[in-house]
Symmetry: C2
Subunit: 83 residues, 2 copies
């Protein structure tokens, strides 16, 4: 068994209102960062996964993301495995 580092970027699906992003954008404009727009806030998860190979590692992380880490109804996720 090998250990791999995995990163998961979790973003709200297009069309889902990002209330937290809107609040941050508003706060940024109020302190004069008016050049920043379309702020969307997601999650960034780092973890270690033990698996036979990188393909199996990605499968495990995808399954865990679908079942628990992300909410597939409103979120997309993108997994990167590092050796």
């Amino acid at each position: 068994m090998n250990q791999y580092k995995a990163n998961i970027k979790i973003t709200l699906r297009k069309g889902i209102l990002d209330v937290q992003g809107k609040a941050v954008e508003h706060a940024l404009h109020s302190i004069d960062f008016k050049s920043l727009t379309n702020v969307r806030i997601g999650k960034y998860v780092e973890l270690i996964v033990e698996a036979e190979n990188p393909q199996k590692a990605k499968e495990i992380v995808r399954s865990a993301s679908e079942k628990l880490i992300a909410n597939p109804i409103i979120e997309d996720f993108d997994i990167t495995i590092y050796e």
Copy 2:
């Protein structure tokens, strides 16, 4: 002025206890994802920045991250600018 897409990965600094990560790890183990460990949960921010060039874009996003988007006392952040 040009528009650039910026991504910011915000992670808790090493040594800062990640309570949310621990909770997710515990939940993963309870549904038999025992091969996943060292879960750390951060934020992933996407935004559009208007600037003269990519260097200026990164400067603006770095300044906004230090002042409002991240908490530099307990968090590290990593900015990527796309043309």
